[in-house]
Amino acid sequence: MAEHAEGGHGPMHQFEIQQLIPIKVGGYDISYTNSALFMTFAVVLTALLFWGATRHRTMVPGRLQATAEMLYEFVAGMVKENTGQEGMKYFPFVFTLFLFILFGNFLGLMPYAFTYTSHIIVTAAMALFIFVAVTIIGFARHGLHFFSLFVPPGAPLGIAIILAPLEFFSYLIRPVSLSLRLFANMLAGHVLLKVLAGFIISLGVVFGAVPFIAVFGVTFLEIMVAAIQAYVFALLTCIYLNDAIHLH
């Protein structure tokens, strides 16, 4: 799709969408692409993980079951802590979101892999869905009283009048910041890795050791970022849900 001077091996090449199975429905190109392939991997791996983990369901868990339980309890704890007991009905959604992003980030770190969370359209779609869903939940639970979310609690009237538009704006900007954070983190990390790795080749065996060590370190950093960004995305979703459920 985009042309690069380095003949398809520039730092941006890894983000290119490649059609694997062309599909066209009603004028829309919904081809099965490398992005869809890695989403499939994520779904299949998650399914395998939970199928394998819950096959025997022992009182004392094995490694796989312990992993699945840890993920479950981590996200369940996060949802409960941030949204209370009423928020637990959204736990499967938050858990799905967390796993989808986590597996997308982790799978993308493998050589030659594609990172679907590095595409703004994917992160924006998830963020917008959350924004719309949270707003609907807020209005469904509180009606017009939901607007009191924009009035800071305990603020005098004069300050509240100034702050309310700011709060409203920050509410509207939520999907933007939510989607950009994940997208930018993934994009920057992968570009950085690719650029540094390119230096290894161009600097040769002796001086290439320096970027090699850097890539080594940045890879660990990116593994951390992959987990942290999945956590942050899920955590912010919980905080937004809490606003909609409890108002402040």
Binding site: T33, F50, W51
Partner: protein, 163 residues
């Protein structure tokens, strides 16, 4: 940047929807209920164990209390028995002591009576001997034969003075 190429948006959104819904189905239908069940079951087993431990501890405490009570009762009973037996033994001992003392006193009294009797008879025979001796001495030395009555009286008077 491939990210801003809108030609791939429809495909990405479509597959995102498909895959996210599939994952949601797996998570909500398989992962969450199954793991939730395991965790709940484990929590229940742990709670049951704790409950049973509490119950067993209560039973143990009750048993210990019963044991302590039985021990205290037995000790008190033994003490009572000992007191009764001691009292009985003391009574028997006192009675025996009294009996022995009475017997001894009787024997002493008898002995004293015999001694007194012996002394009396000795004194009486002394009187007779003295009188006879006096009469013989008087008869031999003075040639007198004093009558028995005056000799006896003189001997009695002399014995009275000697005493």
């Amino acid at each position: 940047m491939p990210q801003f190429d809108p030609s791939s948006f429809a495909s990405q959104l479509f597959w995102l929807l498909v895959m996210f819904v599939a994952l949601y189905w797996i998570v909500s239908r398989i992962a969450v209920p199954r793991i939730g069940e395991v965790l709940e079951q484990r929590a229940r087993v742990i709670q049951d164990d704790l409950d049973r431990a509490t119950q067993l501890k209560a039973e143990t405490d009750a048993a210990v209390a019963a044991y302590d009570k039985a021990m205290a009762d037995a000790r008190a009973q033994a003490y009572e028995h000992m007191k009764v037996i001691q009292a009985d033994m003391k009574a028997v001992a006192d009675k025996r002591t009294a009996d022995v003392a009475a017997t001894v006193a009787q024997q002493i009294a008898d002995a004293e009576a015999r001694i007194a009797q012996a002394k009396q008879s000795a004194l009486d025979s002394l009187k007779t001997i003295s009188a006879d001796t006096a009469r013989d001495v008087v008869g031999k030395l003075a040639g007198l034969s004093p009558d028995a009555g005056s000799v006896d009286a003189a001997v009695a008077a002399a014995l009275k003075d000697a005493r």
